[in-house]
Structures are given as structure tokens and as C-alpha cells.
């Protein structure tokens, strides 16, 4: 009973292709692996929205900035992209901390429009600086053998690099979730997210907490940057598209819900790859389509009601 139904659904999903179970499963797995990376893109956005009620329009540009910084480290040392994280992540933390102290703390907690305008401006500034510094050409991080290696699995081939990035993404989600739900600092973060005014009354230093938070957010961005740059070529103008994928993951999962963001990322990744199976150019469009349909069905996001 369930099997014929599933076959019909699968045929609908892949109308231009002869139905092939292997292709279906392979696409699904690759979509999930890509989605885990999108989820990692979305994590920082989810955190800043959930905790500081602030949307960072420059989020995608920070992902691209991280990829360029990693490429600078790779070229000027003999570290590989993954090893470049050792230098990149502390640097990203400092950048995030400084941004919050110097810029964002002036506008958070007031009307929602000010952070939007500020980070919109920042997005343009970062894109221009990247273009000045690195020209408009695309580049990518050298993934070496990793890019070519695959695991054979029942006739399918799954890339090692996507597997590694998905594992890292899951580990980061697990760690950040634990930090927020199982630590004293996490309790302060949740308190500020619940009620900033009252958190101040019990002595929480909200502005300092925000500075650490944005530092941490840029650390997650740095990790996403390197995994992204190893898999896809990037240019100074790649930021906005990264922002859109992140945004879709966050909104799909329900605002302020970390694991929701994770699932949201998976859905976008899977949709894109099935779209690309129908027509190679249709991948991102298919992701947007599924996002819109899901949003019409559940405007509050798929997993609203969970804890942040």
C-alpha cells in the first residue's frame, strides 16, 4: 500500500527522468548533506534574531569574507583550508566582538529598522572592500584530494567532503544548543532573549553578552565559510545569495528555534538538488519555491512553539 504511493510520489518528483531508486536516494542524501551546510549558514542568523532581535543583512557577506580570509591564510602559510580554521576562527571572533561593541550595540533593542539599515550598509561596504582587495574574479579554497574522494555505498558514490561538512555542521549545532540550554551563560542568553529589560534588572550585562554572542556567531560563520569555499567557487558578490539560503533555513524552521533552523536547511538543500535533477539551472529556484509553499502553509515556520 505504502510502496506504490511512494513510487507515484517519486515519479512526480522526477518527471523527466526514468525513475531510478538509486538516483532518488543519492539525490536525497546529497541534498541532506548540502542542506546541513545551509543550516550552518543559517545558524548565525538564527542566533542573532533569537537573542538580539536583530537581522544581519550582511550575514552572507561575512560568509564570503570568511572564505577570502581563509584563502589569504592558505596562500600565506602552508596550512590547508581546514587547518586555516585555527587562525580564522579567533580572527572571526574578534571581528564579531568589535562589530557589536563599535556598531551594533548602538542600534539593538531600539526599532527593528535601524539594525536592518546599518547592516544593509555594511553589506555594501564589505562587498566593495572585497572587490577592491581581491578583484571581482571568482576563487575557491583548495580542497585537494578531499574534493575527489567518495565513499561507495550500494552502487552510489557519496562525496567525502560533503560528509565531513555535514558532520561538522551537526557537531556545531549540538555544541551551540548545549551551550544555550545547559550552561549558566546559556541561561543568561535565554533570559535576554525572553526579556531584555528584566535581564538587566537581575544584573545581566546585556551589551557585553551581545558582544560575545556576535563573536560566537562569526565563529560559526567562519566554519561555514571554509566548508563553503572548499565546495563552491565564490566572488565578492556571492554574499546576498548566501544570505537568502540562510534566511530561508531560519524562517522555514521557525524563528528562534535552532534545531528548526537545522531542519529548515536540510529541506532547502534537498529541494535544490531535486530541482537541479529536473533542470540543472533550476536548483535554487526550486529551493525558493518549496520555501514559499511551506511559508504559505505554515507562516509561523514548521517548528514554531519549540524553545529557542
Amino acid at each position: 500500500m505504502a510502496r506504490p504511493l511512494m513510487l507515484t510520489i517519486m515519479r512526480l518528483l522526477t518527471p523527466t527522468l526514468e525513475f531510478d531508486m538509486l538516483v532518488f536516494i543519492e539525490t536525497l542524501i546529497n541534498g541532506l548533506l548540502l542542506g546541513a551546510l545551509y543550516a550552518l549558514f543559517g545558524m548565525g542568523l538564527s542566533l542573532s534574531l533569537g537573542v538580539m532581535r536583530m537581522i544581519n543583512i550582511a550575514h552572507g557577506d561575512f560568509i564570503v569574507l570568511g572564505a577570502y580570509l581563509s584563502s589569504v591564510i592558505v596562500m600565506s602559510t602552508d596550512l590547508g583550508p581546514l587547518a586555516s580554521l585555527l587562525l580564522l576562527l579567533p580572527l572571526m571572533f574578534v571581528i564579531g566582538w568589535l562589530l557589536q561593541v563599535v556598531l551594533f550595540n548602538r542600534v539593538v533593542g531600539r526599532d527593528p529598522l535601524s539594525p536592518l539599515l546599518l547592516t544593509f550598509g555594511l553589506s555594501i561596504v564589505i562587498q566593495n572592500l572585497l572587490q577592491e582587495g581581491f578583484s571581482a574574479d571568482t576563487r575557491s579554497l583548495p580542497a585537494g584530494d578531499l574534493a575527489l574522494q567518495g565513499v561507495e555505498l550500494g552502487g552510489m558514490s557519496i562525496g567525502v567532503l560533503p560528509l565531513i561538512s555535514a558532520a561538522i555542521s551537526i557537531a556545531v549545532f549540538w555544541f551551540i544548543n548545549r551551550l544555550i540550554h545547559r550552561s549558566p551563560v546559556g541561561a543568561a542568553v535565554r533570559a535576554v532573549a525572553d526579556d531584555q529589560e528584566t535581564a538587566r534588572l537581575v544584573g545581566v550585562n546585556d551589551k557585553r553578552l551581545f558582544a560575545y554572542m556576535t563573536g560566537l556567531i562569526l565563529v560559526t560563520v567562519g566554519i561555514a565559510s571554509v566548508l563553503y569555499g572548499m565546495r563552491t567557487p565564490f566572488s565578492p558578490a556571492s554574499g546576498p545569495e548566501r544570505l537568502i539560503f540562510s534566511f530561508e533555513a531560519v524562517v522555514l524552521g521557525g524563528l528562534g528555534n535552532l534545531w528548526g533552523t537545522f531542519i529548515g536547511g536540510l529541506i532547502i538543500g534537498v529541494s535544490q538538488l531535486f530541482g537541479a535533477r529536473i533542470d540543472t539551472g533550476l536548483g535554487p529556484f526550486f529551493g525558493h519555491l518549496v520555501f514559499l509553499l511551506a511559508l504559505i502553509a505554515r507562516p509561523q515556520g514548521l517548528f514554531k512553539g519549540g524553545k529557542s
Partner: protein, 230 residues
Amino acid sequence: MLEVNSLSAYYGLFQALFDVDLRVEEGECISLIGANGAGKTTLMRALVGALKVDSASVLFEGQPVGGQSERQQLARGVTLVPEGRRLFPSLTVRENIELAQHHGRPGKWDAELLFQELPALAEVQNRMSTELSGGQQQLVAISRALVTNPRLLLCDEISLGLSPYAVDEVYRLLNRARKDGMSVVLVEQNVQRALAEADRFYCIQKGRVVLDGPAADADHHAVANAYFGV
């Protein structure tokens, strides 16, 4: 201990307090009495630093402290139990209390002592604060303030919406804490209770102190007039 001198407070262009004078002595309990919108909450928020006011309009042990941050007032020993309890819904009861304890002053009161004093709260310490009854939530709100070990505790409408039994329990906890010499400023809608608990009272009307004196020989008729603004 605390001296308020011609304090004025504003929300943007709207002036909510006009030249308020008030003092609280060590170990004293005073009641602020006044209708809705009189400015009682505004006055308390100004005292804990949640609202910016002139530095010289609030003296703590003779030092001008008006307009300093919530954290500075907390470190000095001035803590507010906010109107409407304002527990953090994403935190358990214990987390609510420990968060404040962590940021407050060291001292006698901590989560363990409170759970000893309030066995009913100890039983629900790992529940989310939203799962508790109103009375229990208010006890958590007061506990959350007590663990900062305040020298001056400001209580804004701590009996609002509670059953008579729950109100008694709330005041029992408060009086237990007062035994060590803590000063209290009370806002209480029940005027009888406000006068019974306090050493002195202030009537506030439309942002101004219109009457004050010892609670024991308060003229209830005059207080009612000040309250209703006749």
C-alpha cells in the same frame, strides 16, 4: 540610607514624576500609595536605574547615584521585584533564581536557603516558571530578588491577582527577609495592607507626593482622598 530629592522622570516629552522627595531609613518599610498611573512604578524603575534621572536626585548613603545602571544599583544593594513578576519563561525556576544570584551581591540568601524556606518551591525547582501557579510565581520573583542580597528591596504590586492565602505567603517570605535589617519599599493596591506592613507611607498622585507620614497613625480618610484625588 536612601534619599530622593526633587526627582523628576520623563518618558520622552511626557513628565511622569514631579519633584518627588522621599527617604528610606535602614531597616525601614515604606509604602507608596496611589491610583493606577500615579507614577509608583516609574519611581521604582528610576531608583533601580531602569530609567535615567538626574544624578543628584537619588542619594544612596549620601552618594549621588541617580541615573546609574541597573548593575551598579544592584551591586549597591538596590533590587526591584518588577510589576507582573516578569519571570523568564525559557528558564526553570532554579535557573531564574541562580541567574540573579550569580549577578547579585554575595550574602546570606542563596537558592539553597530559599528552597529550604520554601519546600513547595524546592519541589518544582526544575520546572519551567510558566508552569507554576500565580502565587508560586510571585514567590520565585521575590526569591530571585532576595538572592541578590539587597539592602533595599523594591516590591511592585507583589500581591496583585493572588488568592488571600498566597498573599499571606508572599508577605511571610518578605517579613522573614526583613528580620536581617533589609529596607523595603512597597507598592500595594490594598491600602489597609499597605499601611499595616509599613512604618511610613507616601501618597502619590499624578506624579507628585501629596501626603506622607507614619503608617500607624495614618488618617484613612485623608489617605483615601489622596488616593482618589478628591
